[in-house]
Structure formats: structure tokens, C-alpha cells
Symmetry: C2
Subunit: 351 residues, 2 copies
């Protein structure tokens, strides 16, 4: 009988953070693709465009005018999914019709005054300004709100309507689903094993070295064992850190370096600005600031949709939506591929 080879044989893997499984079907990678192809991401973005509502000095659709900002710039989303107040639904005692009040704020954060740059080609000091602003916003909004979700949708393929380098910050009065689950799983692990799940995971991955793509003094960038998206990755500080604002100066500096490298590798995969959704997950805030959150470990997640080329993405549809996530290439194959790519951005290679 043939012995099991994870790069050849189907299996399911467990994600202990999300308490769910992923189906891995490496033999399926040979499948031809005749389905929808995406547009190649735009590349000739003008540095400044007064019609772009994120540029310095532009007039936004709400009629507000941006200042001539020179670094990062944060403003309230003109179409907030969460408002600071308003009436909430009445309580219901029917378990099938449960609604609850929701408050919050949605902020947009421009990374840089220029539209034609992205994090991997921005200067170290400008990336550092972004990291510091993330930390500041998480701390500030966390005083009032239960959770602050910092996330970046990059690329038209990811529903991002503007090529200007920016992210969003949505703070809410409730703990969103994904975080509620991760809070529970990490707490259960901590109670059982007396150590934070992701610190234990990190230590084990640093010995196995099968899925680690990059390691720096203070950070590890890896493809999680249970990754769902083809090139999904996770970025973790080596030290036990609960929230982004707890990062020390040297950890922030090092984060800028490793982020520039990892994003360069992503862009170098297909020589395009790699689309993704990314975000930071850390301990809850608001009322949770006073509670013990030692089961938490800060981490960033990258979910890039591309699979085979700049124009063929993985569709998370049908079986994935209704039953369970499925991937073709294994986490180890994805890590291998990422390791093999240069960490110098293709746009900077000939300079």
C-alpha cells in the first residue's frame, strides 16, 4: 500500500483557532481552468488625481475636502456601516428572532499622499508611520469599543473601489463572529495547556520550518497549517503580545521590514500588485481591557484570492459556501513557492 504523502493525497486539516476543517485535495491542482478570468490589476495609477476622493486636497462625495496631508490621513468613512449612536431594537424572548443594538465607527486611513505607491515600495519611515497610526487608532477607539478591526482590502478583485493606498478601521460595540470564536478557542487552549495557543504554535513551526516563509528578529511570517486561501499567510510577533499598541519600538521597526519583504514576495509572484484582504486580530478592547486576555496573541492575516496567475482566482463558492473550504495546493507547497520568490519588489529590482 502507498504511504500517505500530503502533497499527493487528499485529507482534512483542523484549524484550532476557528474550530473548523479544511479539505485539502492536492491531486486536483492538475485541473484545467476555463472559467472566469479577472482583469489584470491596473498599474499606471497617477500619483495625484483631484478626482480621486482619497488624494490630498480632493473633494469627497460627501462634499468634505481633504487637507493637503503629507503622511497618513484618517477620516470618518462617508458611508459608515456603523454609526456612533441611534435607536436599537427591543429585546425579544424568541430565540429565532434575536436582534441587538450595534454601535461603532468606520474610519478610512490613507497610508501616503501618493496614489502610485503601496506598502512594499514605500520608504521604511513611511511604513513606520502607518504602523504607529494603527497602534494609536486601536488604542484610542479601544477605549470606547469592544473591538477595533483594522483591515485592508487591496485590489478591485477584492471589492476595493480605490487604488490609493489605504486601509479601514471599523470599531464596534460588539465582538464580531470571527473574534468571538477565536477568543473562545484560545481561552480553552490556555486553560487546558497553560500557554497561549499561538505562542505554542509559533514555537512548533519554528522547529518544523515547513511552513515558515520569513523569520526576522521579532517576527515570523508563515503559511498556517490550516490555510484556506491558496497563499493565505499569518504574521506573528515572537513575543507574547496582546494588542498592536503593545508592540515595542524595535518590534515596530522590524515589522516594517518584514512587511515590506512579504508584500514584495506577494507582488513578485505574478509581477502585479497582489490583491488581498488583510487584517489584525488581537485581544478585545472596551470592557475587555480590564479582563485577563493572556490567552490572546496578536497576529495579522493575509487572504489573497489569486491561485494560478494574475487573472485566475480561487472561487470560494458552492461547496465552500455551503459545506466546507477546499484547497488544491498544500500549505507547505504554498510556503515553498513564497520562499523561492525574491523579497525585493520587482519594481525596485532594476534600480
Amino acid at each position: 500500500m502507498t504511504t500517505f504523502d500530503p502533497t499527493e493525497h487528499q485529507h482534512i486539516r483542523f484549524n484550532p483557532l476557528k474550530d473548523e476543517w479544511v479539505l485539502v485535495s492536492p491531486h486536483r491542482a492538475k485541473r484545467p481552468w476555463t472559467g472566469q478570468v479577472e482583469k489584470v490589476p491596473e498599474d499606471n495609477i497617477p500619483r495625484k488625481d483631484s478626482k480621486n476622493p482619497l488624494c490630498p486636497g480632493s473633494i469627497r462625495s460627501s462634499g468634505k475636502v481633504n487637507p493637503e496631508y503629507e503622511g497618513t490621513y484618517v477620516f470618518r468613512n462617508d458611508f459608515e456601516a456603523l454609526l456612533e449612536d441611534g435607536p436599537g431594537p427591543a429585546e425579544s424572548d424568541d430565540p429565532l428572532f434575536q436582534a441587538a443594538p450595534a454601535y461603532g465607527t468606520c474610519q478610512v486611513m490613507c497610508f501616503h499622499p501618493w496614489s502610485d505607491v503601496t506598502l512594499p515600495i514605500m520608504e521604511q519611515k513611511d511604513v513606520r508611520a502607518v504602523v504607529d497610526k494603527w497602534a494609536e487608532m486601536n488604542k484610542e477607539l479601544g477605549q470606547k469599543y469592544k473591538y477595533v478591526q483594522i483591515f485592508e482590502n487591496k485590489g478591485a478583485m477584492m471589492g476595493c473601489s480605490n487604488p490609493h493606498p489605504h486601509c479601514q478601521i471599523w470599531a464596534s460595540s460588539f465582538l464580531p463572529n470571527e473574534l468571538r470564536v477565536k477568543d473562545r478557542t484560545q481561552k480553552e487552549f490556555y486553560q487546558k495547556y497553560k500557554k497561549p495557543m499561538l505562542i505554542d504554535y509559533l514555537n512548533k513551526e519554528s522547529i518544523k520550518m515547513e511552513r515558515v516563509v520569513l523569520e526576522s528578529e521579532h517576527w515570523v511570517w508563515l503559511v498556517p497549517y490550516w490555510a484556506v486561501w491558496p497563499y493565505e499567510t499569518m504574521l506573528l510577533p515572537k513575543r507574547h503580545v496582546l494588542r498592536i499598541e503593545d508592540l515595542q519600538d524595535k518590534e515596530r521597526e522590524d515589522l516594517c521590514l518584514i512587511m515590506k519583504k512579504l508584500l514584495s514576495k506577494y507582488d513578485n509572484m505574478f509581477n502585479i500588485s497582489f490583491p488581498y484582504s488583510m487584517g489584525w486580530h488581537g485581544a478585545p478592547t472596551g470592557g475587555s481591557l480590564k479582563e485577563d486576555n493572556n490567552h490572546w496573541q496578536l497576529h495579522a492575516i493575509y487572504y489573497p484570492p489569486l491561485l494560478r496567475s494574475a487573472t485566475v482566482k480561487k472561487f470560494m463558492v458552492g461547496y465552500e459556501m455551503l459545506a466546507q473550504s477546499q484547497r488544491d495546493l498544500t500549505a507547505e507547497q504554498a510556503a515553498d513557492k513564497l520562499r523561492g520568490l525574491s523579497d525585493v519588489h520587482y519594481k525596485l529590482q532594476n534600480k
Copy 2:
């Protein structure tokens, strides 16, 4: 103080089947859209095309030749994500690196020999053949496998690589995530309230009538209170039914009628063949056939991505991927809109 109006004021709603919340932000519907637009679904599909691998008589990429089928036609997917056997991973005692064997089969089911028809414009008797085949396949594969997922990806936007009317059937040795959660929540509800959750839900919705779109003798089609996708809907038999093969003759006949109407309404929304992923969820099979599954109620789910027009979809990205699903229009508004549409397909209206 203003009183709460669900069509005006943000709130969160609970999905008792999936044990998660959705953020509803009706005020956000006014947001302008400048992001990616999709291609309008193709409309001039040739009835027969020997280059289309799903047509009768075509040669598929595996070299196999389709018979000149005249009704439905089922065959093994040439690139199965699940194979019937093969070696499985060894057991691990590390909770962070858990893998398990997975076996199964992936079948493709053509609905009709013609490429230029879809369920809403097919004749009643041909739709009935599809329903009967679904029931037959669920029963047959359910003898061996723990779960049989019948699902249809429709439209290029949904990663569907072929316009020929077809669905897929993936049977697995494991209970996929979505079903594992629904099994747990329905069981807990049944133990607590001594009635199946979805039967109770159905009865309450039939009194409220706010979210019911269509009701026939044996079926109810509604927008669930906790819907996530803009026009997400659920189709339920009125009788307590565990699995699709348990549907009686008159229920099957009636299902064909209501399915044709609901799919016509979908297509009539933007006068295009409405893209979606849909699937059937019922009680687990295999070893579970011998267990008590009275907490289960069979239901079909439709997840269509379109939001504002034939070319603007809802992107489930960023906040949705990392934190929690969010919708703009409320479930009640979606139901209203669907109720207002004709149930005669636009292609058949002038006949």
C-alpha cells in the same frame, strides 16, 4: 427620541442555525459604487456545442465521451476534489496539527441536453427529472457517505466554468463544517424546545408574513431573518422532512413549480440569468442513517451575489472575511423586492 426602525437603523441579527451574527446597516444603501463591475452574464449560448464538455456526445478533457443523453446525465467529475480511496494521514496527538483521512466522490449532473436552458425555463417534467435525480443520488451516495452535498454554482461570477445547466454532488466520509454546526444548533434547539427549529421558524414566519416571498401547498420560500447575501433565500417543505429522498410525489411536483417561480423572480430582477450558489441541506447520512435525526429539517439555500444591478455584486471581503458579515438592505426589504417581481420568466413573458 426616535424609535427603532429596522429599515433605517443599524443592528445585529442572530442566525440560530449557524450560531453567528450579521451586521445590518440599512442607512448604508445610499453609498455610491465606483468599484469593480462584473461582466453581464452571457445570453447567446448555443443549444449544442461539441466543444462544450457537458453536451451530449462531447469529448471531455479526460478523453471520455458523453453519451447522447436525453434527460439528466450524471458522471464522475474528471478532477474530483474527493477520491474514493487512498492513504490517509497518521493520527497526531498535537492539537495544533490535526489531520484526518477524507474520502468521497464528486459527481457532475447535467440537468438537460440543451445548453441554452435553465431550470426556470425548463418544462415542469424536465425539472421533475432533476428533483428525482437529486433524491436518487442523495439516497444512493448516502448509503456509503456521511454527507452528500448537492449544490449548483451558476454564472461565471460564481466560478462556474460552464454555462450548460448542471449541478454538482460531492459526497464525503466526514460531516462538513457548515453541516456540523447546523447539526449541533438544531439538536440543541430540539432538546430544549421539543420541536425542530426550522419547523418552528417556518410556522412563525407564516404568521408574520414579513419575509415570506412565495408560499405553495407544500413549500415556503422566504428571506431568512438572518440573511447575509443581499437576496439570500431559503426554501422549505412545510412538512417535517429530513432528507430530499423523503419528499413525496406531490411535494416533488409542487417543488418544481415553486422553484420555477422563484428562479424566474431572480432572473426578472435584472433581466439576466441570475448568478448564485445554491444547495440542499438535510440530515446526515452514512452512519447517521441509523440515528435519530428528528432535529433536522430539509432546506435549500440560495446565495446570489448581486446587489444593485446585473454588474454590481456585494463583495464579502475585508470586514466580512475577518470579522463579521454585513449587509445594507434588510431581509424584509429584500423580500418586498422579490415579492414585487413577476414569477413568469422574462424570456417567456411575450410568448
